[in-house]
């Protein structure tokens, strides 16, 4: 890419099939300006790309250094020897392994349930007329504007009280966190899928009903498959959103009876970064951050088109 920069700055256009740049009106001065601007674009874009990549690369490479290298040669990107044991240490002693397991367990339940319940509610609200329809829709929408911190105290209290009757729904329980994630993701999921179901044509639904399909059969075998693009977008949105959630687990996955905390990855990383300050296991911390970062980045690079359009569609609606 850097050679392209030089080309744009110095060398005139040489390929025979492209005529000289024809800028506004075709003046030569404008063409030179255009080429200069092309070079400038490349330089600036490269600088920003380095600013994004360099810190990430630095974290990954620091994860392979020894502790004394991290302290003495913090800037070097090439460790003398690749210390993979940093990862093993973070995985077992740093408990990253169990953080991962907890996160995967919770997300498997919460994302599935969010998608299912969210699209069911959105479908009923979008395609059926009944009293209270608008009210329920607006109640769901209101969750988008209210700050989560306002609910923190009563939510913790509520979860604490629930554990008296339903021990599985108390603090520090996976099932509780799944249900809380689902509840807090419903607002946006309903909002998004509601507008999606509205756009589906009526004729197919009517044809299915004439053929004797029940309402729920119509939903599961006809409407839901037709909404695949919308489901993918909101699915990606929910996976990333719930994977990144740190406030709810920090609030709710607290140990009440002295048992070990079932921490999820974001919550665990915060604790790791605090504790590492005392133990000064810097390479282990870098290894932890790397492990939390790389899987998401790899998945993103493979599915980048879907992820980009999924996330931007979320904002565009």
């Amino acid at each position: 890419m850097s050679t392209a920069t030089h080309d744009g700055l110095t060398r005139p256009e040489q390929s025979p099939d492209t005529p000289p740049a024809r800028a506004a009106g075709g003046s030569a001065a404008a063409a030179v300006g255009g080429r200069f601007f092309n070079g400038f674009s490349h330089v600036f874009l490269l600088v920003w790309a380095v600013m994004v990549i360099y810190p990430l690369l630095w974290v990954v490479m620091s994860a392979l250094k020894t502790d004394s290298e991290v302290i003495r040669q913090p800037l070097s990107l090439i460790p003398a020897k690749l210390n993979w044991d940093n990862f093993a240490r973070a995985w077992s002693a740093g408990h990253l392994g169990s953080f991962f397991l907890n996160t995967v367990l919770v997300l498997a339940g919460s994302v599935t349930l969010t998608m299912l319940l969210g699209s069911m509610a959105a479908y009923a609200l979008a395609r059926y007329e009944f009293r209270g329809n608008r009210l329920i829709y607006y109640v769901f929408l209101s969750g988008l504007t209210l700050p989560i911190y306002l609910a923190a105290v009563p939510l913790f209290k509520g979860v604490y009280n629930t554990s008296v009757y339903f021990p599985l729904l108390g603090p520090n329980k996976h099932l509780m966190l799944i249900l809380v994630y689902v509840a807090w993701s419903l607002s946006f999921t309903v909002f998004f899928m509601h507008s999606f179901f509205r756009t589906l044509p009526n004729t197919i639904a009517e044809a299915a009903m004439v053929d004797g399909a029940s309402h729920s059969r119509l939903f599961f075998s006809v409407m839901l498959p037709m909404s695949k693009p919308g489901l993918i977008s909101i699915g990606i949105f929910n996976v990333l959103g719930q994977w990144n959630q740190w406030y709810l687990p920090t609030l709710l996955m607290q140990s009440v009876g002295g048992e070990p905390k079932n921490q999820v990855i974001a919550q665990g990383l915060i604790e790791l970064s605090v504790n590492q300050g005392y133990k000064s296991d810097w390479s282990g911390l870098f290894a932890g951050v790397t492990m939390a970062m790389l899987p998401v980045l790899v998945v993103y690079i493979i599915f980048q088109r879907q992820v980009q359009s999924g996330l931007t569609a979320g904002v565009g609606k």
Binding site: P19, A21, F37, N38, A49, V52, L56, A121, A151, W184
Partner: protein, 313 residues
């Protein structure tokens, strides 16, 4: 056709609505109720104190400080992120060479887009922990290490970053350093968003402008930017919400979660401190209600300001 509709709708709505009411709506309602009491959170005694908590809010120095810090982020996060994202999108889409077909996107724009989007898929906590190491206030940190090596920073007197309460342009330095992280992590996403919007503008508009002799700068400022108005205003609203939610960064990166010496205190950090450290649940709930009212007013105001006739094409 209408047969069984009521039963079906009830069946589909019961579970989601129940969960939502129990875990989201009910806590909000309770918070509003608690804000009128002097409940400590751990005791069972609570007395109705009316609007006392709200009156107390008005004269609370710490809250006033946190409020202005929130306002600072509310203005700067969207402003800098959108400016940088627009600039990057502009370079990507208009920075290429010109030929018979008009102005092209820059070479390799696909790769740039992938890279710039990286921070968006990382969790805020990963970003915070990572930047904590970049911002270390000794030679072991990435920035201080580099600066000391080049000789721009004295090794005995490194940059303090998030533990620096000294004001810069009237705002504590620690807030500017947090702002930098927010802009770093957000710019790529909005760049992709603006890029997509730019590409959905029909080509013939640009061709017509080129025929009329408009330069690429004119084209950008007179055609592209006005047509992006909708997308930019949506981005502004979203970034506004993100700016109110800088708590993850404050929580992980600043000394005693709002320090040093309350220099990086924001609404959320004061609320959490009041509720869980000081044990004043009633008062904390009043803060939460105030924040909620502030957020809703803000959202309404933004929607009102940014609403304009859509341009269809």
């Amino acid at each position: 056709m209408r047969h069984g509709v009521a039963r079906f709708v009830t069946g589909f709505l019961a579970l989601p609505l129940g969960l939502y009411l129990f875990y989201v709506v009910w806590p909000f309602v309770q918070a509003a109720g608690y804000s009128l009491t002097d409940w400590g959170g751990y005791s069972n005694t609570q007395n109705f104190v009316g609007l006392d908590n709200y009156v107390r809010l008005l004269s609370d120095e710490l809250i006033r400080k946190a409020f202005w810090h929130n306002v600072f982020f509310l203005i700067t996060v969207p402003l800098f992120t959108i400016a940088l994202a627009l600039f990057l999108a502009f370079l990507l889409n208009v920075g290429g060479r010109e030929d018979r077909a008009g102005i092209r996107g820059v070479f390799g724009s696909g790769i740039y887009k992938i890279i710039f989007f990286f921070p968006q898929v990382l969790s805020l906590v990963v970003i915070a922990v990572m930047w904590q190491q970049i911002y270390r206030s000794d030679g072991q940190g990435l920035i201080n290490g580099l600066m000391i090596k080049i000789g721009l920073v004295d090794a005995d007197n490194p940059i303090a970053f998030t533990s620096d309460p000294e004001p810069f342009l009237g705002v504590p330095a620690v807030l500017w350093w947090l702002l930098l992280i927010a802009v770093w992590s957000g710019a790529g996403f909005y760049m992709v968003l603006f890029s997509a919007a730019m590409q959905s503008i029909p080509k013939d508009i640009f061709e017509a402008a080129l025929l009329d002799g408009a330069s690429r700068f004119h084209t950008f400022f007179r055609i592209t930017l006005p047509l992006l108005r909708d997308t930019v205003s949506v981005a502004w609203v979203y970034l506004g919400f993100i700016a109110l939610d800088m708590y993850a960064l404050v929580f992980v990166m600043t000394p005693s979660q709002g320090g040093p010496n309350h220099a990086s205190e924001i609404f959320a950090s004061v609320l959490n401190f009041t509720a869980f450290q000081k044990g004043q649940f009633g008062y904390a709930c009043a803060m939460g209600v105030a924040l909620a009212i502030f957020t809703i007013l803000l959202a309404a105001a933004q929607l009102r300001i940014t609403r304009r006739e859509r341009i269809e094409y």
